[in-house]
């Protein structure tokens, strides 16, 4: 298995990791820095850790300050996600990812979203602007 999908670099980097899908927008301020667990009530990832994952999510939210503070605290505690794949980037999310040097891409070809599942292993390579599907989640 080695499917590849085109994408666009927003914040540079090459990372490999497990996919974590979110239907809801994410504010990293609402994650516990000690564990990376999303704490926002009613969020589809409530109780789930973003630590070491490649997050596939619609976009960010929140005020002009707290997104970066949330990311920074996760980074400091080693509980940050490895990479971000976003559908609709906003200025706050984009500047936070660039400053925190957290690899982020958008404009991923649509078939990626049809294919990808929680737990799949993927590789983001912003230099070549591609995402590779490395391995399907095992228990399927």
């Amino acid at each position: 298995m080695n499917e590849t999908f085109s994408c666009r670099e927003i914040s540079r980097g090459i990372v490999e990791g497990e996919v974590l899908l979110s239907q809801d927008q994410i504010l990293f301020y609402h994650a516990d820095p000690a564990t990376g667990v999303i704490t926002e009530r009613g969020h589809c990832l409530e109780g789930i850790s973003v630590k070491g994952k490649i997050l596939v999510f619609p976009g960010g939210k929140g005020s002009s300050v707290v997104q970066m503070d949330g990311m920074y605290k996760l980074e400091q505690h080693g509980t940050a996600p490895l990479g971000l794949i976003v559908r609709e980037p906003d200025t706050v999310l984009v500047s936070s990812a660039i400053i925190m040097e957290l690899p982020m891409v958008d404009r991923v070809e649509e078939s990626f979203y049809d294919t990808i599942q929680n737990g799949d292993r993927i590789r983001i390579d912003t230099e070549h602007q591609v995402i590779q599907l490395l391995e399907r989640r095992r228990d399927l």
Binding site: Q76, P89, V92
Partner: protein
Amino acid sequence: MELTAYQQELLDGVWGKGKSMAMQILVGIGKCFDAPRLVPITRAHVSLSAQEADLWFSGKLLAAGASCAVPPTVNPGYSLDYFGGQISEAAVENMRQVDQTYRQLGARMTYSCTPYLGDNVPDCGEIVAFSETNATIFVNSVLGARTNRESAASALCAAVTGFTPEYGMLLEENRFATVAVEVQATLRSDFDYAVLGLMGKKIGKGVPAFLGLPREISTEALIALGTQLNVSGSFDLFHIPGVTAEVRDMQDAFGGRDPQRRVVITDEDLEKALETFSPSPSGPIEYCILGCPHYTLSQLEEVAELLAQKASQVPIYILTSSTVKARARECGLEQRLLDLGAQLIPDTCVDEACCWGYLAGRPGVTDSPKGAYYMETSGIQLAVRDRATCIRWAQNGSVC
């Protein structure tokens, strides 16, 4: 992206590492949003927060030798004069460092989230970089200035370099209304406009034009509307034909096009929105917190009026700017409020856990949905009601 010779020099580090860092971030943002170029800004407002990442990033720029080409005004952190004796040494030291860092970067230490009321007021059409969602939407909508919804960091980078990428709200074609919001509800106080701002989900994405509103709307009501729209959703700009700067009528607002969506807001919608956001509480109230965003002088006068018959039984904390506090002091209003149980706290934001953490688990009331939303992160549960109700509960020491 096309850069001018000077912009390329900034990027290449000819003018120092700090400017180059800021430029790299702006170019990254510009590329993401397909900006063809960077354009000069005349003003900036940075949502300083005194949080960890804020000090880390501003410190990093300073250490790299950055200074501001356009001195920005800044958001509140927390007042050491007021909180100095009751917060940890570390928190005192943190705020000192934030103050020093921004000062050395060349910022104007205004510590207010309503800079557009006096400290930093853009004209219609002026290109600026304002962070702080309530300030961004106010200067875009009410004043007709042009800014994207900057993050604290991107606004600081714009201040350091004097440039911002040209995209989004800077472009004429993105500033037309797309959603017609017909307001059938009756709006009486600025709080009613705050509740209207909670309808962000129903309004949906886009630039709303509010129709059916009175021609005379107070500045405070316009502040409340924009602020709370960014609690219930993400909005850069709204129009009210005949009221806000850029639009006289429907034609101006929609640029001759049909609205993509029509939404009707009734009294019932507003009642439901408030009840959902803050269900009716019962029992004792231990404090009242007002001033998110910072209260204006006339809001302070209204509080004094409401308290005139009977002083508050519980502390009323009112957040405001140093400028407004000084004016209230000069005219005797601050003393009058103090005598009635209301303290003015300058330079401070509700979202500072080190100052307000002690209120966690204790019932209080506020007139700001935004204040309640952000204080909840520190475990503080606030009921949200209009100013008159807040004061009545405070006078009574309980919900009544």
